[in-house]
Each structure stands twice: as structure tokens, then as C-alpha cells.
């Protein structure tokens, strides 16, 4: 019974990681960059939702939508101002810039909203039947898992069948060729950031609903873990991000329960290392040998 409780909390946490990892993996797949600021977009999403709920008194659904809108705009602006000028530059230059953006967002949040943690009130307002509650299932966990599955399904359909989705896949294979086929590469990358950031907002709201402490550094650790999850599943792969996120959440939750609270993160990272050593491109990653 207790095991079941931990498993559920792991799946719920893993779903949040999966949603964040989707943003990482989409951006990596298309722009070939590690967007270290992605975790901080989550934090901004959390704050916007908090403000909308507490200061503006909006209903939960509107607050979430507002937060998604804000993050989408933020993502597109970051991409346009900081990353687009560096499209021809080396990957390290882009990485450092992303770190700069991350510092910027954290410090801006601290100036605007202060360093003291805010107590986030969950956006989920219904109660589960007592039987389910006793199993350790919370309404937040249920919603989180459902949202994650929906996002996953919609995103897969979108990438495989829509025109923009096909353009994204074309850009991730070969930007030059995509451009020659009449695809607007800059716009496609911009849209990828928009989608990734909107997902980050949802992840932020869900994360804060389950773990209600909101502060400027809230996004850092989940960001790093989701990044790990994306690599775990094979970075660039959407189902990989989903599986990686879930596994990571479950491993973390079980490690915390059965091995050591202080070492839970380490255990997660150790599993990642072992997986990468056995399968150097992650669970679902593609191996592209170098042509000689």
C-alpha cells in the first residue's frame, strides 16, 4: 500500500518532469541548443499564475491561460533577442547566453516578487472519493498525470501531422534543405520556443500546485532534472522525453522513500549515468555515426 502511494507520487512528479522535458527536447531537436533558461520560464509561469489568482482574483482556468500566454510571449522574446543573433555561433556561446538569460530571469523575479517564498494555492479545486484518497492519490496528482497524457497525445499528433509540425521535423533534420523547400526556419524555431514555453507554464502551475513553495529559484532544480529526463529518454525524441520524465520521477520518489532522502537526487543521476553508458544516446535516441 505504502509502495503504491510512493509510486503514484513518483508518476505525478514524473509527469511534471515530462512536460518540462518536452520543452527541452523540442528546442534541442530543432535549434540544437541546451536552453538552460527553460527551468526559469517555469518559475515565471508559476508567479504569473500566482498573481492572477491572488492579486487579480481570476478563476483558475483563466489564471492558467494567462500564465501560458505570458510564458509564450516570454519564450518568443528570449529566442528573438538572445538566441537568434547567435544562430551561426558555436554551441558554447549559445549555452553561456542561455545561462545569462537564466540569471536574468531569476534576478528579475527576485526584484519584482521578492526573495521570500510565496505559498502557492493549488489550482485544483475538487476532492477525490475517499477511497482513492486513502490510496494516496491526490486530485493534483490525478490532474497532473491526465494533463501530461493529453499534452503528449496532442503534441505527437501535432508534430506528425500538422504543417508546422512537419516544418519542425524538417528543420531539425537539415535547416538548409528546409529553407530551400520554402520553410521559414526562423519562424519555425520561434514557434517551437512558443510551444515549449507554454508547456513550461503548465508545468510551473502543476509543480507549484503539488509543491506549493514558489521562489525565484523554484525552476532551477526541476529544470536540471527535466533536462536529465530528456537526455535519459534520448534528447530530441518526444516519446523519449515522456518516458524519461516518468522514469525519473518514479526513481526519485522510490529512492527518497526506500534508500535515502539526501541521496535521492544522486541516485537519479547515477541511474542516468548507467543508462548513458549502456546506451550512449539515451533510451530512444538515434545514433548518427560520423561519415568517414
Amino acid at each position: 500500500m505504502v509502495f503504491f502511494t510512493y509510486l503514484i507520487s513518483g508518476i505525478s512528479l514524473g509527469s511534471v518532469y515530462a512536460i518540462i522535458a518536452l520543452g527541452y527536447t523540442m528546442v534541442y531537436g530543432i535549434a540544437k541548443m541546451l536552453n538552460f533558461a527553460h527551468g526559469d520560464v517555469i518559475m515565471v509561469g508559476g508567479y504569473v499564475c500566482y498573481i492572477a489568482l491572488n492579486s487579480l482574483g481570476l478563476p483558475a482556468v483563466l489564471a492558467v491561460l494567462l500564465s501560458m500566454l505570458a510564458c509564450t510571449v516570454l519564450g518568443v522574446v528570449i529566442e528573438g533577442l538572445a538566441y537568434r543573433p547567435l544562430r551561426q555561433a558555436g554551441s558554447l556561446a549559445v549555452l553561456i547566453t542561455a545561462i545569462g538569460v537564466s540569471y536574468f530571469l531569476q534576478n528579475a523575479a527576485q526584484l519584482i516578487w521578492g526573495a521570500t517564498p510565496k505559498n502557492f494555492i493549488s489550482v485544483v479545486h475538487f476532492n477525490l472519493p475517499a477511497g482513492l484518497m486513502r490510496l494516496g492519490l491526490s486530485s493534483e496528482a490525478l490532474i497532473t498525470v491526465l494533463v501530461c497524457i493529453i499534452i503528449m497525445a496532442v503534441l505527437t499528433a501535432f508534430v506528425n501531422h500538422s504543417k508546422l509540425g512537419k516544418a519542425m521535423r524538417a528543420c531539425s533534420e537539415d535547416k538548409g534543405a528546409a529553407q530551400l523547400m520554402g520553410i521559414n526556419v526562423n519562424r519555425t524555431i520561434s514557434m517551437t520556443f512558443a510551444i515549449g514555453s507554454a508547456l513550461a507554464a503548465i508545468a510551473g502551475v502543476l509543480l507549484c500546485s503539488s509543491y506549493p513553495v514558489l521562489q525565484p529559484t523554484t525552476g532551477s532544480m526541476p529544470g536540471i532534472k527535466a533536462f536529465t529526463a530528456a537526455v535519459f529518454g534520448g534528447i530530441g525524441s518526444i516519446p523519449g522525453a515522456f518516458i524519461g520524465g516518468l522514469l525519473l520521477g518514479i526513481i526519485e520518489s522510490l529512492a527518497k522513500a526506500y534508500i535515502s532522502t539526501t541521496l535521492a537526487n544522486s541516485i537519479v543521476f547515477a541511474v542516468l549515468i548507467v543508462i548513458l553508458l549502456v546506451k550512449p544516446t539515451g533510451l530512444l535516441g538515434k545514433y548518427a555515426p560520423e561519415k568517414v
Binding site: P85, A89, I99, T228, T262, L276
Partner: protein, 354 residues
């Protein structure tokens, strides 16, 4: 001496520049002309110069992105503290004890460097980066579980994996002292680091790294970076040279960590987290990949920058972030670079040297 090679001249200028800077700062410090805040930053700056130069060996020279360099600094710091604290009576001479502590710190980092490097260096690119990040986190967490004390029976070491044990479980004698108290970190450390020691460590690092780069070993490391397959085809053992760069870099970071740790009365493992690794990486990238004197200058400037931005008070980290982004944009965007080239004509030539 006209026929000295360009690289030799650059190296010589680096040594002279560092020495002159040290002499000036040391004279000012001993003369009491420095504010206590600047004076207190001299040793940390030396440590971070060593960190940046050693990371440049991995990222710039060997071409592998490492996001866990602070992990080696951490291992060196706590290894050095344990050595210095437990040898306090055996080696009464402070400078000698510092040397031993630095050596122990470097040695600890070498061991960890091997353990990390052998599996990690089989991976490539971003995968290698994420695994070094993971190792950095693991090292931090493990040190957070460490309980170390010292008494007449020698060292007592315990791993507090369950999180339930405390320093009392070591059952030290009454005369014994606690050295590392788990998540509280190292406590009651005798400060034995000094600015001249920092200077010597920087010079030693420069000699090792610069001479290494200009030797056949360094050329092999750079050849592997430039073209792995071609390097193999001329008979180079890829793993051996990648590992060599990684382990030498870890050793230097370990020594820097020991010097850093012995500069404070107490130290926690979270001081060497992911952000510290990133901070050093920023120094390396802004200083120029593979450019050793660039790393030194970038470290000094960026380490002092938050201090210099003090007038912006609350906004200083925000300004720091903006400066970082703008510098990256200005140095890596072709249009902006061309524009800068027009304003500052000699800038082009400098870029060619990198």
C-alpha cells in the same frame, strides 16, 4: 631573441603579467592600502584563476564540455581540509602543511577524476556534458553525507546515508575534534591559505598547462579535438589523451579547492554546486576557448564585476546577467563583430590569434 616563436612570447608575457600583478597587489596589501573586501578576495581570485585555466584544458584544449568542474574543487577542498586539520600537530609549519594539504586535495581529485573520466569520456558532446553535471551533483550530495572527525586514534570517517546520524556517532575522544559535520560542512577550519601561496599555485598551474599544450601530449590532445578520426588514423590513443587532459585538469581544480577551503573558517559542500561550475565555464568561454591568458583576465574581471556593480545594489546581479548576454552577443554575432572591427581596427587581429 627575435626568433622566439609567437606562442613562446605569449607564454612569457602571461608569466610576467601575472607576476607583476601579484607584486603590485601584494605590496598594496602589505602596505595596508587595500580595503578589507578586496584583500579578502585575493585568495579566491587565485583559486578561480586556477579553476578557469584548468577547465580551459578540458573545454578549450580537449574540446569536451564539462559542467561538473566544481565537483573536483569540492573534493580537493574537503580532502585538503581533512589533511590540514588532522596534521595540525604532526606538521607544525604552516607553509609545509599547506603544501601537503594542496597535494592531498589534488590527489583526491585525481582519484575522483579517474573514476569519473573513464566512463564519461566514452560519451560525446552534450551527453558528456550532462553526465559531468550529474557527477558534480553526486559529489556534492556524497560530501553532504560525510562525517569526519579526528582524535588520538586517527581519522574517523562515516557515511551518513540514512540522514539519521550525527557527529556524535563518531564517538570521538574528548580531545578529538570534528572536521566535517555532514550537511553543516567543514567547521572550525584553521585558515592557512595566503595570497603568496595563491600566486605560487597560479604560476605552477600556468607552467603545467602551458608547457603541456606546447608539448607532443598537448598537440595530441588538440589533434583529437580538431578531428578525432584523423587523430586515430595517425596512431593516437584517443582515450589516453582525453583522460590525461581530464585528470590533470581535475588535479589542478583539487589543489585550487584545497587552497579555497583553507581560506575560510567553515565551508559547506553546496558552495561548489552546479552554479559554481557554470561560473567557471563562463570565465573560460568569455576568455576565449584555448586561450590561457584570456581565462585569467576574464576570471579577474568577472570575479570583481559584482563588486564593482555594488552601486547598483539590488540590481547588480541583473546587470551582471545583462552584461553577460551582451558580451556573448557582441563577440559571437558576425554583424556586430564586423561593426566592432570597424570601430576598433586592431580587434580583428586579436581575434585571428585565438
Amino acid at each position: 631573441m627575435k626568433n622566439l616563436k609567437k606562442t613562446t612570447k605569449v607564454d612569457l608575457a602571461t608569466y610576467i603579467g601575472v607576476t607583476v600583478a601579484f607584486l603590485i597587489m601584494y605590496a598594496l596589501q602589505t602596505g595596508g592600502h587595500l580595503t578589507s573586501s578586496i584583500s579578502g578576495q585575493l585568495v579566491p581570485i587565485c583559486c578561480f584563476i586556477v579553476m578557469a585555466v584548468s577547465l580551459n584544458l578540458v573545454v578549450g584544449i580537449s574540446g569536451e564540455l564539462s559542467l561538473g568542474h566544481a565537483g573536483f574543487m569540492s573534493v580537493g577542498a574537503f580532502g585538503g581540509i581533512i589533511a590540514a586539520q588532522s596534521l595540525a600537530e604532526t606538521i607544525p609549519s604552516t607553509p609545509l602543511r599547506l603544501v601537503v594539504a594542496l597535494a592531498v586535495g589534488a590527489l583526491c581529485a585525481v582519484v575522483v577524476g579517474f573514476v569519473v573520466g573513464v566512463p564519461v569520456l566514452r560519451l560525446r558532446g552534450d551527453y558528456l556534458a550532462i553526465v559531468t553535471l550529474a557527477f558534480g551533483q553526486i559529489i556534492k550530495d556524497l560530501i553532504n553525507c560525510l562525517l569526519v572527525g579526528y582524535d588520538s586514534h586517527g581519522l574517523h570517517i562515516m557515511f551518513n546515508i540514512s540522514g539519521l546520524k550525527s557527529i556524535n556517532d563518531l564517538h570521538l575522544e574528548e580531545t578529538g575534534k570534528a572536521i566535517i559535520k555532514g550537511a553543516q560542512g567543514a567547521v572550525g577550519v584553521t585558515k592557512i591559505s595566503s595570497f603568496p601561496a595563491g600566486f605560487i599555485l597560479v604560476m605552477l598551474t600556468l607552467v603545467i598547462v602551458l608547457n603541456l599544450i606546447r608539448s607532443r601530449t598537448g598537440r595530441a590532445i588538440m589533434a583529437i579535438r580538431d578531428n578525432r578520426i584523423a587523430a586515430e588514423s595517425v596512431g593516437l590513443n584517443i582515450t589516453k589523451y582525453k583522460l590525461m587532459a581530464f585528470v590533470i585538469s581535475a588535479a589542478l581544480a583539487g589543489a585550487a579547492g584545497a587552497l579555497y577551503g583553507l581560506n575560510y573558517g567553515s565551508l559547506v559542500a553546496s558552495r561548489f554546486d552546479f552554479n559554481t561550475s557554470i561560473l567557471v565555464l563562463v570565465y573560460v568561454v568569455l576568455g576565449g576557448l584555448g586561450n590561457i591568458w584570456g581565462s585569467i583576465i576574464a576570471t579577474v574581471v568577472l570575479y570583481m564585476l559584482p563588486e564593482a556593480l555594488r552601486q547598483f545594489s539590488d540590481y547588480r546581479m541583473l546587470v551582471y546577467a545583462i552584461v553577460l548576454i551582451l558580451v556573448m552577443l557582441a563577440t559571437n554575432n558576425d554583424q556586430l563583430k564586423a561593426l566592432l572591427g570597424k570601430i576598433i581596427p586592431h580587434r580583428k587581429e586579436a581575434a585571428g590569434n585565438e
